[in-house]
Structure formats: C-alpha cells, structure tokens
C-alpha cells in the first residue's frame, strides 16, 4: 500500500514538473489587463481603442483554435493617478500584460507602474517622445509623432505650400507634432507662423482673424482634437481667410466627423489609415471589419484599428512566450521585440526603445460623403481637391 502510494506521488510530481515544459501543447486562457479611459475627457478616444482591443480578442478567440484571451478592463477615468491604480489593480488580478492607455500624461505613470510589476505595456494612445526615452524594457507603442509629422509634411510638400499657419493645442502630443512640422518646414524654406491655444478656448475667431489679416498663409495646419477642429473651422467659416487648404491630424478625416459636421468638413484633410467607406482587402482586415461590425454594429474607425493592431501583436507575443515557456519570465517583451509583420497600419517592428520606426501615417481628404486617401501615392485611392476649403 505504502509502495503504491509512493509510486502515485512520484507520478504526480513528475507530471507537475513536466507541465510547464509541455505548455506549448496545452490550451490556456491568458488574462490580459486593459487600462483605458472610458470616462472623463478622454472617454471617446478610450472607448474607440477599447472597441479595437475587444475586436482583437474576439478575432483571436475565433481564429486560434487552442488558446483563449480573456480581457479585464478597468476605466482609468482619464486621470494619471487612476491609471496607475488601474494597472496595480490589474497586476494584483494576475494579468500577463497591460493593453491600452490613452494620453501621454496618463500612459507615462501607468507604464511605469506596469514596469514595476514586471508587466509589458503596449499602446497606441501616446505619441510623446519622452515615453520612449525612459529606458523601459517593457514599454511598446505602435505609433509616434514622427509618423504623423511625416504624413503632414508629405501632403504640404505635394501642395507646394510656401506659407503655413499652424494652430496647435498646448498639450504635449499636439505641441510636439506642431513643433516638429514647424522645424521641418522652416528647414525647407517655408514661412511658418505658430498659434498656440489653450484647451479652455471656446472662440477661435481672434486667432483666425490674426491668420487672415497678418499671416495670409496658403494653408492652415491644425494640431488638436475634434472639438478644437470644429471651433477652428467654424471661426474660419465665419471669417473666410483666403487659404487654399485646411489640414489637420487625428480624429478629423473620419466618417463620424463627416456625419456630425458635414458643412465644416468639405475638402478638409486629416490623417486617415483607410478611406471611407472602408476598403479592407487583406484577410486580416476583413476579419477585423467583420468582427467590428458584429460587435458594435457600425463601421470601424481609426481608433479601433490602432487598438486592434496593438492587441493583435500583444496576443501573438503572449502565445509565442507561452510556447517558449517564458511567459512568466519576461518572454512577452522578448517576443514583442521580435515582431515584424504587416498589419492594418503597415509593417510593425519595435526598436530597443519599444518604438515602431516604420510608422508613417496616411492623409485623407473629405470629398463629398467620402474620405479619400490622397497621400502617400502608394496608398492613395483618389486625387486631392486643391485648392479647396469648406467656405
């Protein structure tokens, strides 16, 4: 009896020792923490990213026959302190990595907290250069200021702009981008006038009037968010400065803006990954669009696409780390660093700082009820209407 018991115990111990090594052969449910702003000032963008993350999990769970992804989402309420608390809470719940984050000011402390907990933090919500200068081995992002700047400069160059007025919000990401664009344009001999504005501004007419009467530019470039664009364009529509084009960045060349503010969007440019109506030609793109429509009953937007891509890369890295038996020993970061694949936002690789050096955005233009990608040429599905403004 004793002998049989000892044998049984030995067998159990052997199985226990072999289990981790056999990880690759076993089905596993991975718990991923999602820290996003679902309330507060960043609620809209946070919700958009969260939708993309949920779609990525849905696609993964349908396509990957073996493993499952389970998401635990915590609202960081658009506050840095709450973002840190959210990451710490998720870490205590045993998540294997943190996905999400919006706003460089929130992502900075939240990714620090994730690093302290030994967790990978991946995002597409913060483009501040300082985020990748901290030497964190666990921080990854798929987009950056350079990619937005490249797109805006490319378009302005195609337009042959000689005099540009840049109107920009005094937040880190928006002012970083404006200053990058200014530097590059000045180096090319373009005359640039900068107009910073505070987030609390409600009336843009004094700024637009200065542009109209003093700057007299070819193009007005905007670096801000949706509410700022609406304010700027409304003021411009009232004052009617003699410019040839109005160019913005994120959240502008979207179907939502066309639907909500049709009279303000005519011929306006903004960054756009895809045209609208969206044309998904790759199998990955079709999976994304199909799942997005199924889950949310609407056309996917760029926030969803970014959230989807970052999550897709993370989930793949988790599986590879699990297969290699390094899931709990920093393997996810190692596997993410090996990523090199085509995604919905182009090829993604990570450098030693966790940044994606390949990132380059595309520029779209509102044309009628469509958003047409007009830059770069290889992704363009139409020609730009130039000159063209909403008034």
């Amino acid at each position: 009896m004793c002998m049989r018991k000892a044998l049984g115990m030995s067998l159990l111990a052997a199985i226990g020792c072999l289990l981790p090594a056999m990880g690759g052969a076993m089905a596993e449910e991975f718990v991923v923490g999602v820290e996003v702003p679902l309330s507060g000032s960043l609620a809209r963008v946070g919700t958009g990213m969260s939708e993309g993350i949920n779609v990525a999990a849905d696609v993964f769970n349908r396509k990957n026959g073996k493993h499952k992804i389970k998401l635990i989402t915590v609202d960081d309420e658009s506050s840095p302190a709450k973002a840190v608390a959210a990451v710490e809470k998720l870490a205590s719940q045993g998540v294997v990595a943190i996905d999400g984050g919006y706003g460089s000011g929130n992502i900075g402390p939240a990714s620090d907290a994730a690093n302290k907990a030994g967790l990978v933090y991946i995002t597409s919500g913060g483009v501040d250069e300082a985020l990748t200068q901290r030497g964190l081995k666990t921080f990854f992002r798929i987009n950056n200021t350079a990619g937005y700047s490249k797109a805006m400069l490319g378009l302005l160059s195609d337009m042959g702009a000689k005099n540009v007025s840049i109107v920009y919000l005094t937040k880190e990401a928006t002012s970083d981008l404006a200053k990058d664009v200014e530097k590059a344009l000045v180096a090319k001999g373009v005359k640039v006038t900068m107009h910073a504005f505070d987030p609390s501004i409600t009336d843009f007419k004094p700024i637009i009037n200065k542009i109209k009467l003093q700057d007299k530019p070819d193009v007005i470039a905007m670096s801000g968010y949706e509410n700022d664009y609406v304010g700027i364009l409304r003021a411009a529509k009232v004052l009617k400065p003699e410019v040839k084009a109005v160019v913005g960045v994120w959240s502008l060349a979207t179907s939502k803006m066309q639907e909500d503010f049709p009279d303000l969007m005519t011929d306006v440019y903004g960054t756009a990954l895809l045209p609208f109506p969206a044309e998904f030609t790759t199998p990955d793109g079709k999976d994304f669009a199909e799942s997005y429509k199924k889950l949310y009953g609407k056309e996917p937007d760029y926030l969803g696409q970014f959230g989807y891509v970052q999550s897709q890369l993370l989930f793949d890295a988790i599986v590879r780390a699990f297969d290699a038996g390094t899931l709990k020993t920093g393997g996810i970061a190692t596997e993410l660093r090996k990523s090199n694949r085509d995604t919905l936002i182009g090829r993604v690789q990570f450098d030693e700082k966790g940044d994606n050096p390949n990132f380059s955005h595309r520029m779209g233009q509102h044309q009628g009820k469509q958003v047409v990608v007009v830059w770069p040429k290889e992704y363009a599905n139409g020609k730009m209407i130039f000159p063209g403004v909403p008034w």
Partner: protein, 291 residues
C-alpha cells in the same frame, strides 16, 4: 490693426455674454443660500444634451428645445435642492461636497446616455456669419447675446421689483430675520433653485448652439461660472455682467496681442488683481451697502 482690435473686442463681448449666461444660475443660488452648487455646470450641460436630443431625434432647433430643457433641468435642480435642503449642519461645506458628488453622477449619467462623442448643432442657420463692417460673428452668438442681456435684465427686475425677488434677497441678507417677517426660507430657496435651473436651460441651449459639448465639459463650466460670480461680488447681477464681459475681453485681447495659450492665465490674473484690490468683488461692497 484697427480691424484686429475691433474684432477682438467684439469677440470678447460675445464670449463674455455667454459666460454671464452660464454664471447666472450659480450666482443666484450662491447669493441666496451661500451654497456653491458645484453641479451647476453639469446642469447646464444636461440642458445642452436635451437640445442635442431634440435636434438629432426630431430635427428641432436648439431654440425650440429650451422648454423641454427647462422641464428636465428644473426637475434635476429640484432633486438637487431636495438633497441640499436636508443638510442641517455646516451647510456651506457639506453642500459643496454633496453638489460635487451630484456633478460626478450627472457627468457619468450623461456619458452613459449620450456617449463620449462631441456634439454641436447642425443648424446652418445658427452658424451663418453675420457681418457688421469689420465685425464678424455667428448668428447663434448674436442671438444668445440678446437672450443673455434679456435674462440678466429680467433677473435684476425680478430680484428688485417683485415680492418673490425681494423675499429671495431678504433670505440672502438675513435668513432668521426674513423668517420672523413671515417668509418661508425653504420655499424661497427652492424657488431660487428652480430659477437657476431655468437659467441653466438657456445657457445649455447657448453652448450647444455656439460651441461643442462633451460629457467632461461640466466642471470647466462650473469653474468659469464660479470665477465670474466671485469676480462680480456676491449677489450682484450687474456685477455679473461686468465681470463676465471683463473676463471675455481679457481672454480675447490676450489671444489677439499675445497668445491664446496665455488666455486662461490672463483670466486668472484679472481675477486675482480684482480680488486683491476689491476683496468683495467688483460690485460686492456696493451691493452690501445698498442692502
């Protein structure tokens, strides 16, 4: 340069009048009850979302949505008063905490119902440019400038020329003495809250017509209204108009001659300078002496 200055002054006046409209309700409740209603901005925002719903669901102009906004916001203010009125001790401090909490609940309620997207009127008529020589504005700005002036005049008339208004001032001046004179302070305070709700409904329609709304906007509206109320001097309706116009003009001139990035700072400097020179606000002392 003249064109630039004239437009800056015109923009400042229009912005100031919309600030006055937003601050009226908060100033009334602060003046009568010594209660800083930190949910005031959210009540204004609630009215703005009612206007949005009326426009998006039935195609109604934000102006036509004002009666519906009045009903809904007055119900919300009545409920707020129902809670604030139950505070028996340290009313100033406890009402601050309570209304802050109500504000958070309203913000999240708005977020749940209307989602986080930005909203603004689609009415081209309201956004049309109205030009007087070198002065440019949207029709909605002019319209609500007139509404703001009418409401300020109406409120001043109500407070100074009607029995109900005098009762409000009596309670504000000395609650116990007013009670001894046969005035029911609870009733008067309730009426003040309802009038504040009515004013918030107009302010909500204005911000939806002129600018852009989103669920997180409430707190910044409250802060702006509070600054103007203190700047004006407690209980002073004319002071409120002057304070709001001063703030609007300071912001607009700062944007024109320096940078828009400094406009918030300029507003705060104005606020501090006025309080340093006139600790009771622009019209506070005079108002107190007169009563």
């Amino acid at each position: 340069m003249t064109e630039l200055v004239l437009q800056a002054l015109w923009s400042g006046i229009l912005t100031g009048s919309s600030y006055a409209l937003i601050a009226l309700g908060l100033a009334l409740v602060f003046g009568t009850m010594n209660v800083i209603n930190l949910a005031h901005g959210e009540l204004v925002l609630l009215a703005a979302y009612v206007a949005y719903t009326c426009e998006s669901a039935w195609g109604a102009s934000p102006l036509l949505a004002i009666p519906a906004a009045i009903v809904i916001v007055c119900i919300a203010t009545a409920l707020t008063y129902g809670l604030v009125g139950r505070i028996r001790r340290d009313r100033e401090l406890n009402s601050l905490l309570l209304t802050y909490g109500i504000g958070i609940m309203l913000t999240n309620g708005i977020l749940l119902i209307w989602k986080a997207d930005i909203r603004s009127t689609k009415s081209a008529w309201l956004q049309d440019a109205i030009v007087f020589g070198p002065l440019y504005s949207m029709r909605s700005e002019l319209l609500f400038f007139a509404v703001s002036a009418a409401l300020i005049a109406g409120l001043w008339w109500w407070l100074t020329r009607t029995w109900a208004g005098r009762a409000v001032r009596a309670v504000a001046s000395n609650r116990d003495a007013a009670q001894l004179m046969g005035i029911d302070p609870h009733r008067v305070e309730f009426v003040s809250f309802l009038v504040a709700g009515l004013l918030a409904a107009f302010a909500g329609a204005a911000i939806f017509s002129i600018g852009v709304i989103q669920p997180g906007l409430g707190i910044s509206l409250t802060i702006k209204a509070f600054i103007i109320t203190v700047l004006a001097g407690m209980g002073s309706v004319p002071g409120l108009l002057v304070g709001a116009l001063l703030l609007g003009l300071t912001e607009s001139l700062t944007t024109t001659f320096f940078s828009s990035a400094l406009q918030e700072l300029a507003g705060m400097v104005l606020f501090l300078v006025v309080l340093f020179v006139l600790p009771n606000g622009l019209f506070g002392t005079r108002w107190r002496r007169a009563h």
